[in-house]
Symmetry: C2
Subunit: 253 residues, 2 copies
């Protein structure tokens, strides 16, 4: 049965395939949470989901792809959840706060898993790090979301920061996520308050970047981001074994 992968004829419909994919993903998340990511095998996931190992591998090439699938899913749910606040609010701080609080709502069911999984994502050599080449897609999607947060607001931005500001806002969001992973308060109340406090601060910093007095600092921040922080993903890739690098390249072709 292991090599029985669904074909259009076998699965009948795309919806069926999507259902199986979701079933495998949800089973995997549950097992990761119960047994730990490192100790959970693809075989165990397939068995628990009631599908063949070949079928599981058809949908997800590896455990890492399962996590990437999980990242994608959270990202998609988040993008859908923020449409309302982005259509309603024009104030930058309110837009930013709405987007970040929506993320906390979406991610809430996975908080325990995130705390336990954090070790893996924090490893600079892991493809599961938010800075890795493999995470480029969800990273870009989040940067794009912050571009919308900015574009729909009344905030005036100096041209030289227009490109980099959404990337800085992504970094801010990563800081919030990091804080959330640490947070042990009920319903992550503390992280929610941090979002409510840091969103006006970010909006104020963006607003201040218009002033001539601050241009040199804004330029230094932008240059450091551009020259050092953003290429960090490439640095992590440099260390990856040659086979992993080849795989990444092929993926991009």
């Amino acid at each position: 049965m292991d090599d029985a992968v669904p074909t259009e004829k076998a699965s009948g419909s795309l919806a069926k395939g999507e259902q199986t994919r979701t079933l495998i993903l949800e089973t995997a998340l549950r097992l990761f949470q119960e047994r730990g990511y490192d100790k959970t095998t693809m075989r165990a996931i397939a068995s628990e989901a009631g599908v063949s190992v070949g079928n599981a591998y058809y949908y997800f090439k590896s455990k890492e792809h399962l996590i990437q699938g999980f990242y994608d899913r959270i990202g998609e749910a988040h993008a859908a959840a923020v449409q309302d606040v982005l259509a309603r609010e024009t104030d930058l701080a309110a837009r930013l706060e709405g987007v970040l609080l929506a993320w906390l709502d979406i991610a809430a069911p996975y908080h325990e898993f995130a705390a336990q999984f954090f070790k893996n994502a924090a490893d600079p050599n892991s493809p599961l790090s938010p800075f890795s080449p493999e995470s480029e897609e969800p990273r870009e999607a989040t940067v794009e979301l912050h571009r919308q947060v900015l574009a729909g607001s009344k905030a005036a931005l100096v041209p030289e920061l227009r490109e980099l500001m959404p990337q800085l806002m992504w970094l801010h969001q990563m800081g919030i996520v990091l804080y959330w992973v640490f947070d042990r308060t009920e319903d992550c109340e503390r992280t929610r308050r941090l979002v409510q406090r840091s969103s006006p601060m970010v909006a104020r910093a963006i607003d201040l970047s218009r002033y001539r007095l601050l241009r040199p600092l804004a330029r230094e921040v932008a240059d450091i981001l551009h020259d050092f922080i953003l290429p960090a993903a490439g640095m992590a890739a440099e260390r990856a074994p040659a086979t992993a690098r080849r795989k990444t390249r092929r993926k991009k072709d």
Copy 2:
């Protein structure tokens, strides 16, 4: 032999004890690097160092204490290495750059170990995280060092930021350390350039905090640091098992 712990009579001199301590610490670091931190036992460390297990436990109560001993050692070497630059320079950016470059020099032999060990230190529940209650001593020592960096410079600081600025500078240093862990360039050249670029930026931000226009932002940053970032250590401790918390409390008594 396992219960043969050195007494004054047995070891003869404090210097002898210090030598044994150093021998155990260096052996441990070597084994951690060769076999991985998780897989190295105290028994193996004692055996490789040629001391009894009881003797090893006399100097270091656990593997975690070995890492804390390692942090202390780097901190002491760093404090000694910066005396020269702090006596010579009065420009804030130059003082900061000198202090951070000195840290990179001191830590260079442990770069490979740091990259491999990072997983453990990044775990929010680990006493080995730089934010943990157990890391309070080396953290405070570094904040104090940055207090000196500021105090001996010509930089004017508004009173409300005098207390918090050295803590922000500690956070900046943690950012540099994080970058260094990722860095795969020869002799960590890229991190050295980041230090040379970010030190003037930090000095400029400190200088700008004098201006009235920036006071509200500076106050927001200070408040968030004070209310959210610095108590993060306590948050991590909340999750630690009760026994670990009792130990920490006893240590503080």
